[in-house]
Amino acid sequence: MKCKRCQGSAVIEVRRHNAAFCKACFPHVFTEQVRTAIRRFDMFEPTDSILVAVSGGKDSLALWDVLLGLGYEATGLYLGLGIGGYSDRSHDASAAFARSRGAELRVVDLADEYGYDIPTAGRKGSRSTCAVCGLSKRYAFNRAAADGGFDVIATGHNLDDEAATLLGNTLRWNTDYIARQSPALPARDGMVKKVKPLHRLSELETAAYAFLRGIDYVVEECPLVAGNTQLRYKNAMNTIEATSPGTKAQFLFGYLDRGMPLFAGHDDVALAPCGSCGQHTTGRYCAFCRARAQILGERLGAADRAGTDDREVARWLSDEVLPAEIYGRAEV
């Protein structure tokens, strides 16, 4: 196969574009797709300070590499999840990348900062391991970005991630989640702006970019991911994509172009400060504080309740600890 740009020998085929690229041209094509995403969704300005959520995997390190290459002020944040050797290797890959690029990597350890790690959360909480991990990441990244004075959080979500999430939300008609599935969520009520500059690029493309750029990312999969719902949606979409290249992109980009306006307002809810941490939420306490209290066996707002009767306390607790049936048990 020949490179579409220079007619050299191709190393990566992008079937949905009916195109292939050589090792010199592909990083350029990849970077242009990121620039397009940043421009179309007004993700950030050259003067903005960006906190990049890095996991040590291909997507987040590829994103950080591109942003640094484009001259943005991009600081990495690694969240230690406490998943044994996997977390150690993920941290080491992130730190090695930061050193190689002369970039700053900040590290937050979930256990040190919030009192639990992900394996413990999977065993003790009522949410699945992946659900509580995602919740913890969103909360910790936002808190770190707000405390650090960053303008925007950038995550490495790619086209496959976003298409799988949209499929899952559509299958359940979670219209509030669908309404919020934008590559750029504006800052709101203490929530730092969040952007996904890789949403136009597939997992194959982010992996190829990372490889061609010599990024030593963690190839191994999280040991707790078995049975993950999003993986099943990805597999389903890949089955369709194998015979109809471009379906995933049409599904996601069609939604962003034509579907998203139809769902505008479906996520309009009144927010108030969480009674525990102050982050805005729809209930008395935010989902993170509820989950954390359950994992740690604590009672939220216990100090407020001195002198109240048992029935009132029971009502509060029923608000705090959601039953396992709602979120499903963690795989252990």
């Binding site: 995550t155 997992e203 190839v219 991911v225 999003q230």
Partner: protein, 66 residues
């Protein structure tokens, strides 16, 4: 021909002298879900592999939550 597979890491011996897409088909691997690496270089599924080649087939799908 040696083929290194990942997650979990393992190695299998297969016949070379054919296009990579045939190797992937034998392994029941979707070409859009893996990088194929030969001698430290990426190769497309249309390349031929020789009997003495060593391939790494590296999955690209990650299943972390959002």
């Amino acid at each position: 021909m040696k083929v290194r597979l990942r997650n979990p890491d393992r190695e299998v011996e297969l016949h070379g002298g054919r296009p990579i897409r045939e190797v992937l088909a034998e392994l029941d691997v979707d070409p859009d879900t893996v990088l194929v690496i030969r001698g430290g270089e990426l190769v497309t599924r249309h390349e031929n592999v020789g009997q003495d080649d060593e391939l790494e087939i590296r999955p690209v799908i990650s299943g972390g939550t959002v």
